[in-house]
Amino acid sequence: MRRRFPQFYAHVDKVFDEMPVWVVTVVKELKDYWNSKMYGRKASQLLKELVSGDSGQLTGFNNDLFKQVIEECDESVHHCQALLRKMQEEGTSNQTNKNPDHYGALVHHLSLVRNKRCLMAYVYNRAEVVQNLGWTFKAKLPDAIKMKLSSEEQKYFTNHYATLQSYMKDLDLDLAVDMLPPKDPYIKVRVLEEIGYVSLGDQVGNLTMHAILFLKRTVAEDYILQGKMEELTN
């Protein structure tokens, strides 16, 4: 359509561009409202939000939408029970008789199951990312990531990290280093952030921004993963 009537669509675009902000928000809200008018639609929006980012990235936990989906679940339960009660009062058996109430209850039951699956998938897939955080970061998460986690997820991270640590302690081996097979015990790195005085395995060093130095690979690996250093090659 766009290709066939370029002038018309250019005009439409112009009108949209010149609209005041409040009109745009009202239009968007109306659109959201119509979009949400189907069972399970909100829950799928929740998941779409999750996959819209690049893979392995986190978006903020959408508490608001999450609550709305749970409210929708409550409504489904309410409708479903009301219909089942009605059927019991009328004395119709719910298996054999194909009456409208039976199918009504069915629709609500199905949307309840569907919403449950969406919510479970949302939490589960986020939990997987949170688990991986335990391999990348030491006990303290960067604030940018911490903000995106719900309080339960932060607790989950702490617990998962503790479990990981105790397992490594039992093995007496740090499993999180050398994720790539090493070629050389020392590598050349550039410091990208002010880090300050830290222990570098066998010595204490002052890591200032833009410093270029040779470090033990095992020490540098953590900083590279956290984006505080980059590996230099020649």
Binding site: K37, M38, Y39, G40, R41, S44, L47, K48, L50, V51, D54, S55, G56, Q57, L58, H79, A82, L83, K98, P100, D101, Y103, G104, L106, V107, H108, L110, S111, R114, R117, C118, M120, A121, Y124, N125, V129, N132, L133, T136, F137, P142, A144, I145, L180, I187, L192, E193, M209, H210, A220, E221, I224, L225, Q226, G227, E230, E231, L232, T233
Partner: protein
């Protein structure tokens, strides 16, 4: 049965398919267009696949073939499959097709999916392996979810091959942190 937690499988179930109700259904406000909260038999609606398929199996509704498998699309795919805009028609084209075939015994959909995938797969790989990312956007907007994943996989493997050959840095910042930040002053 796909994994319960598989997001793509769940979102594919969200695609709308046309259906006709065979039975009356009470108390379903969101499905009925009037204010009676009741859907009458023989009323036509568009239902998300997860609902439609269950109702279809219980003979409460009957699914008809979704518009993205209509004659026009078939002809376009037959003519030049690689350049059909499948995303705007249905971003879960293949997943939807697979599920629909199980519900309605339309034998032709299977071969349509195969032909479409074969021709498009070749094109996706060629584009991903050769072209610079500048060409990307226009072509990418034609691809379905599945094909976009293939494209990304192909480009990342090409990039990995290049860094291996040039001997670039192997250790990278964790992907959770997002794109690499350029330090100020560089």
């Amino acid at each position: 049965m796909a994994n319960y937690y598989d997001i793509d499988d769940i979102l594919a179930g969200e695609e709308l398919v046309p259906a006709v109700f065979l039975e009356a259904v009470n108390e379903v406000g969101l499905l009925s267009s009037n204010y009676t909260n009741r859907v009458e038999p023989r009323s036509k609606v568009e239902l998300p696949l997860w609902l439609a398929s269950e109702l279809h199996e219980r003979k409460a509704a009957s699914i008809t073939i979704p518009p993205c498998f209509n004659k026009k699309t078939r002809e376009e795919i037959g003519a030049d499959g690689a350049h059909v805009d499948l995303r705007s028609r249905c971003s879960y084209f293949y997943e939807l097709g697979l599920k629909i075939v199980q519900l309605i015994g339309d034998k032709t959909i299977g071969s349509l999916l195969l032909v479409a995938f074969q021709t498009r797969y070749k094109e996706v790989l060629i584009k991903a392996h050769t072209s610079a990312s500048a060409l990307g956007p226009k072509f990418l907007s034609l691809l379905t979810k599945e094909e976009t994943k293939l494209y990304d996989a192909a480009t990342s493997s090409t990039a990995a091959f290049k860094t291996w050959r040039m001997g670039g840095s192997r250790m990278q910042q964790a992907s959770v942190l997002g794109r690499k930040r350029k330090p100020i002053g560089e």
